[in-house]
Subunit: 202 residues, 2 copies
DNA sequence: AACTATACATAGCAGTGCTATACATAGGCC
DNA sequence: GGCCTATGTATAGCACTGCTATGTATAGTT
């Protein structure tokens, strides 16, 4: 038929754009393709335009988040795991602050929404296990709890990556999550132990 | 000396830009001045450029937030007041979703940072009163608690205004705040009553 | 009333994302 | 193997962006 697309060019452009984003350089069409040797048209054949490149970068952000969450080893203590996942969430945000900010721009449209759903579902499963082991009351909805945990993590991550709060404010995550899990029925002292144990991981 | 600036033009441009933002129209220099009768140069004399106009819009967002928080009537129940302030925070975010999103862009630089500080301080004072009345333990730091409440509110507001969570998710605020205030020493059942009472206000 | 400093309108600048067109090249077909 | 076609690529140019230089009118000072 014809020349086939080279997948390497795709990742090359994404990485270069992410690098420029981190370096605080303006991510512009011509600037992105400048060092790569390819022409401006490549952005259109691979991404359909700059919007598509930004979408791909959001996707990359969610992929890195999923990878970071995947590094959390599941233990016999599901509350510890919940805290560890929250800690990993914040660790990913501070490791890629610019990417994290981009992730939640432009209406949250992704190429593959499943990647984001999967990350949330990791939290849901941990909450389910906490219920099964009797740490949380039976009337606790795992999805609700996961969403609440997400909101807490995102609030801290967003305020830290966008500037108003210093990085040390991320430490607020542990006491808030502890309070939340205690409200789900977990024993206060063992909850504190579990959360602080999981929080240290990342 | 010369012609003096007309303050009305300033507010006119801000309101028109905010209106275009709400209408999802691209907020561009020429588009903003189009309907006003003034020329593009007005944006430079009044704001120093588009960046200045965006900064002014962020300032407008914080002003509206402060106004919304000011409508909360202080009561004899400081925990109720804390919940009411949180509820008002979220109400402002959903009433001006686009403005809220802009508020936390571009590194949080404002013309008058005191406006933002003042809003946070309203929360701090409520936390202090809760300590004085014995609802919270003596070792609770009001600023810490206010910051934590802010992070929770911002997490929910941000996830709702940017899309991933539906508006109904704002209801998660009440149970999370309840859990947080209980962890500060408040009695669980009276805390729930106070928070739900304050939450209804907005 | 004359002067001057300031706001304003116009026109034009470099830079943006995007697209139309021509060209090169890889793959299917006989 | 040699065409042929479909596809990726490069170039040039489009409308638009924010911004600035220039000239002019005007409000405030003296």
């Amino acid at each position: 038929m014809a020349r086939t697309k080279d997948p390497a060019v795709r990742t090359l452009l994404i990485e270069r754009a992410a690098q420029m984003l981190r370096a605080r350089e303006p991510v512009t069409l011509r600037a992105v393709v400048a060092g790569t040797g390819v022409s401006t048209m490549a952005v259109y054949t691979y991404f359909g335009g700059m919007d598509g490149l930004w979408r791909a970068m959001r996707q990359e952000g969610f992929s890195r988040l999923a990878a970071q969450l995947a590094t959390v080893p599941l233990s016999a203590d599901p509350v510890r795991d919940l805290a560890a996942l929250g800690s990993a969430y914040l660790a990913n945000a501070v490791a890629n602050p610019d990417l994290y900010r981009v992730m939640f721009d432009a209406g949250f449209d992704l190429e593959d929404p499943a990647a984001a759903d999967e990350s949330l579902h990791t939290l849901v499963r941990a909450a389910e296990r906490a219920k099964e082991r009797g740490r949380f009351r039976a009337d606790v909805d795992p999805l609700t709890l996961a969403t609440q945990s997400w909101a807490i993590g995102h609030g801290l991550a967003s305020l830290v990556t966008t500037g108003p709060l210093p990085r040390a404010a991320l430490g607020h995550g542990a006491p808030i999550l502890t309070a939340l899990y205690v409200s789900c029925g977990d024993d206060p002292s063992s909850c504190r132990r579990s959360v602080e144990s999981g929080w240290r991981l990342a």
